[in-house]
């Protein structure tokens, strides 16, 4: 994969990738809020089967707006969104939430039911499942996120990390094909961040779910993403593999982001040793191999 750069000010043409593997296709979508502010502008984006895509960009770049479009909470003022070939603009998609689950940044906004079990069962019941089937789906999802022991707890008594796990369970119980997470590790301690990170990988590897994460945490994106999309001024500005994107200093500067820690450490090491930083490790293991090779 090579870096694809687009100019946000011109009207780009969306690349059509392998249709067989494409789950979501956002085709030059724009959204203008009622107050006139631009949420997304000529946004072109796609999600393939069984991949983790990281949307990285500064505050107000349009990541959260895009995520709300993926679930159907917002509809584009212009352009189109298609999921599995069904188009939202042609009215073929009125129940996008069945296909794409969204985990919001603030877990307190998502957990509204009296108990954890009620909250996790909320989605399955809306899908039309019987109470017994919804209970099974909820129990299974809670077990999958490692929170089966919280089933009878009140959301009020959960820690931030537990709330985030329950939020994910609430979406997982609906068995969507795609899960979009808005800032999944924000405000979490390192232990819970690690748990969420492991869980995101598991969503892809064990459940075959495609995952979209909107994040400022480039270290997280470097560790788990298959593909990184840099978002600026409401458009995908560049996309590529984490190694391609995060070693392009000029690109990150243009987007208003700083390289992940691993990139900075590797570059600093190479500078200190007076050797060229010609490899692009994005994990600690990769960096060790790169350093040993020199």
């Amino acid at each position: 994969m090579t870096i694809i750069r687009t100019d946000p000010l011109s009207s780009p043409h969306c690349r059509h990738i392998d249709k067989e593997r494409e789950l979501i296709h956002v085709d030059c979508a724009s959204h203008i809020y009622p107050d006139g502010s631009v949420g997304i502008h000529d946004m072109c984006f796609y999600v393939k089967k069984n991949e983790i895509v990281a949307l990285c960009g500064p505050n107000g770049s349009g990541k959260s707006t895009l995520i709300e479009h993926l679930n159907g909470l917002l509809t584009p003022s212009e352009g189109n969104i298609a999921v599995n070939g069904r188009s939202i603009t042609k009215g073929e998609l009125t129940d996008l939430w069945r296909e794409v689950g969204v985990v919001f940044q603030q877990s307190d906004d998502q957990l509204f039911a009296p108990t954890v079990l009620d909250d996790v069962m909320f989605g399955p019941l809306n899908l039309g499942m019987s109470r017994e089937a919804a209970l099974n789906a909820a129990t299974g999802a809670l077990e999958a996120v490692g929170a089966a022991d919280l089933v009878q707890k009140l959301p009020n008594y959960l820690s931030g990390g537990q709330k985030r796990l329950i939020s994910i369970a609430g979406i997982l119980a609906m068995k969507p094909r795609i899960i979009a997470l808005d800032e999944p590790t924000s405000d979490l301690d390192p232990v819970h961040s690690g748990m969420i990170e492991g869980l995101i990988l598991e969503l892809k590897q064990r459940f075959g779910i495609s995952v979209v994460i909107a994040t400022h945490d480039l270290d997280l994106a470097a560790r788990i993403a298959d593909r990184v999309c840099l978002v600026r001024k409401g458009s995908v500005f560049a996309e590529g593999t984490p190694a391609e994107i995060f070693y392009d200093e000029e690109l990150l500067q243009e987007t208003g982001l700083k390289p992940p820690q691993i990139v900075r450490v590797y570059r600093a090491y190479c500078r200190m040793q007076g050797i060229p930083a010609d490899q692009h490790p994005i994990s600690i293991e990769g960096m060790m191999v790169a350093i040993r090779g020199k």
Partner: protein
């Protein structure tokens, strides 16, 4: 005072829920239906009977049960402030016009004011009735797990009342936490000290406005999160409520018999 508690005179939802979830006494093991039946019986009893002796005994029994359930008695007395003020503000006026033997009499601007023994009895009786209901309601809340309580509401109340209640309870916690953190921020910068009524009033108005705006924004986000999971206007609770046991049926029958006996003894009801 817990983080979200605004005052020692307002029942602290966090503390109430803490005790309810702790489940530390035999009363917690009673079916919520039994406690609900007793709530109705107690309301009936205080409505039917004006006998001070019966009401005093009932109040002492409830206070004893409250203490036996390891619930915080001192807090309870603090929480009595609101119902007491409510009762006194209403009955305090009525008591002065009650016929009976004068106890205190004086004139204000030429108008004679007489407080009679029956007036005092009225205040005490109504205050006692209010405290009985408040004590048992708090006892019920603090010995019943919230999941069972919400399931009862879902089964008993018609829509949309049940929906409003199910959503409001969690939202109350969040709003209280938000108000608590705003007040903390105010106090941390020297606010909250009484400089003048005008300054104090303005500060509380600002806090209220901020809480209102933030609550409104939050409710929009909560609604969005519900829509994202297919919310179409109603939702329920999945929890089952522990059923009544044989002994509990007997307990309810005994309570009903007492209420019936009191009703029959009440002169105005033909006793």
């Amino acid at each position: 005072m817990s983080a979200a508690s605004l005052s020692d005179h307002i029942p602290d939802l966090n503390l109430i829920t803490y005790y309810a979830e702790k489940q530390q006494s035999c009363f917690s093991r009673l079916s919520p239906w039994t406690k609900f039946a007793y709530l109705i019986l107690i309301i009936l009893l205080v409505t039917l009977s004006g006998n001070l002796a019966i009401l005093t005994v009932l109040y002492l029994v409830l206070l004893g049960a409250y203490a036996a359930a390891h619930l915080p008695v001192r807090k309870l007395f603090g929480w009595y402030t609101m119902p007491a003020v409510f009762v006194l503000s209403l009955v305090g006026i009525m008591a002065w016009s009650e016929p009976g033997n004068p106890v205190i009499s004086f004139a204000v601007a030429g108008f004679p004011l007489v407080l009679t023994d029956k007036g005092i009895l009225l205040v005490v009786t109504l205050l006692l009735k209010a405290l009985i209901v408040v004590t048992f309601s708090l006892f019920f809340l603090m010995t019943t797990r919230y999941m069972h309580f919400s399931a009862m509401i879902y089964r008993l109340f018609p829509s949309p009342l049940d929906q409003i209640f199910l959503m409001a309870y969690r939202f109350l916690f969040l709003t209280l936490a938000m108000t608590g953190s705003i007040l903390k921020a105010v106090r941390s910068r020297g606010g909250g000290l009484i400089h003048s009524i005008r300054v104090q009033g303005r500060m509380f108005a600002e806090v209220f406005a901020l809480v209102f705006i933030r609550s409104f924004e939050r409710s929009e986000r909560v609604h969005k999160a519900m829509i994202a999971r297919g919310f179409s206007g109603s939702y329920g609770t999945a929890t089952g409520i522990p059923a009544l046991r044989h002994a509990e049926y007997l307990l309810i029958c005994a309570g009903a018999a007492v209420v019936l006996a009191v009703a029959l003894m009440t002169p105005s009801l033909g006793g």
